[in-house]
Amino acid sequence: MTGAALPRRPGLRERLARRGLDGTTLLVLPAALAILALFVFPFIEGLVLSFLPKQGGPLANYAKFFGDPYLWKTIPTTLGIAIPATLANIALSVPVALRVRRMKRQRLLTTILVIPITLGTVLVAEGLLNYLGPQGWLNRTLMALHLIDRPVRLVHNYWGVLWSLVIAGFPFTFLLTLSYVSGIDPNLERAAATLGAGPRARFRTVLLPLMASGLAITFCLSFVQAFAVYPSAVLVGAPAGSTRVISIAAFQAAYETYDDSLASSIAMIMAAIQLVIVVLVLAGRSLFYRGPAGGGKG
């Protein structure tokens, strides 16, 4: 009877299942392949390419970028557009979301607010040109009323790009913010009210701290979108001047000077900057409360 007491070694299938791997796991394959083919491979190729410049050593492209103000100044320019646009979107989303949360016809309003997301930046830029351009209806109306003699320059500058980013980015920021705000138990606000907190104090002591961590995530996602701005910087901005963003520099390197290697380096620098900002914001997030926003059991 000695053999029967030996524990049977479980089969491969059983051992894999214990680690959470079974037939269903295979469903992950198509998505994994797509990510490999469409993201990981191009990224690695770009990274390698960025170290193979037309002339000079492996770091020649990076040296060129940071040595040429015409190139490196695109970084502060882009940040100067993307960060204010993201902050403006969050600042707009929070009060709107707080109000929408209590409305009965929430869905209708949400739909209306979200429509711009379907338009894309090009269409938004087009619209801005029509409305706010030198021959747009706003300038024409103001001139017809003799309030101004010449068209006011509202697009083809910094503000045009900022406007278009706010319009195109708001729905996205708003939807994220709404979901965080809706997750806060309304009884918490009511409890704060019975304890003597007015609307401002309730926002400062209860709502904002509970939203902070979610807003940090929202900031990261919206910022990454705004940082890669290209169409509106060209269409409603001043692509040679105040809105010469980093993606324009990359585009010019790739399709005007046909320097794929330099373009890849610029793309890598973009990625690095986005990563640094996201990591900083997420690190700051650990200072906030991150647990559930409910008021207790129930």
Binding site: D185, L195, G196, G294, G295, G296
Partner: protein, 355 residues
Amino acid sequence: MAIHSKDFRTLRLDGVQRDFGAFNALKGISLTIARGEFVALLGPSGCGKSTALNCVAGLLPLTGGTISLDDTRIDTLSPEDRGFGMVFQNYALFPHMSVARNVGFGLAMRNEPRAQIAEKVAEALRLVRLEGQADKLPGQLSGGQQQRVAIARAIVVAPPLVMMDEPLSNLDAKLRLEMRAEIRRIHAHLGSATIYVTHDQDEALSLADRIVVMRQGEVRQVGTPEDLYTRPATVDVAEFMGFRNMLPATMAGAGSGTRARVTVDGAACEGTPVGPLAPGAVTLAIRPEDLRPQDDGPLAARVDQVEYRGRAFFGIATTPGGTALHFRAPSRVAPGTALRFGADPDRILIYGGAA
């Protein structure tokens, strides 16, 4: 520094109404509560008791009527200006603040000096027996502890009125009994008025000085626990207070003393009238624990089932007319046995009108 509630004489609700669209959730509630009183609003869900509480707290505006504290009208004040304490059913503790900051929240909103806040918070936590937990987050506490924090937070500002909305409904049976005693003790210590909303008659009976029975947005009866338990004013209230046997009967005339004679299922019996009775159809209300097998009892019925509930057996029997009787028996009775049932005439209440 001991926490004692602010001085006032009465809180008065006068014809308080609240509509939600076409639905009248409160149809004109009038009620006066004195300082130091413990009042329970009792009723089934949807009867308007929580709505009434929210109206007093200022979380719901009234559609009619007034609420005043002594001679000051308060129903137009926002909740933050009323200064009442409220304990929510799900506690509504601020999850991002420590226990001490939760409890001190109301004091901080009143801009009290830090040292004073710390002192009062410590006192409130002592009162609810949570001395060692001041630095924890609510999520690290058990349900009963969270409940105590919620109570401490509501009472630390020494409110003239403390409101509790089914505060024990999320706790297990043993904890519920313990917390009942705690709530009673804290109420006595504060000297404030307490309005306590519940659908549990045991809770209301054991805690309250006065019970307000509500149904369909109206007050049906106000009385001491003894009043309500022994003499419910209407059939509705009786049903809610545990009179499970509601038997159709006919008036037969006056009985001995204040009693009346009725005919039920063809047999004669005596009971105690509640309110004036007209000849014709009446309803008998009897608690299951008062209806027992009696050889000369007026009601004949066949036993359907019997269950043991410690100390006694409770069962259901059916009369030949098809009425179900809930009864209590001292020993086990086999299903199918034909028995006669009766009750002490003092424990048979007679209400006018058909059941």
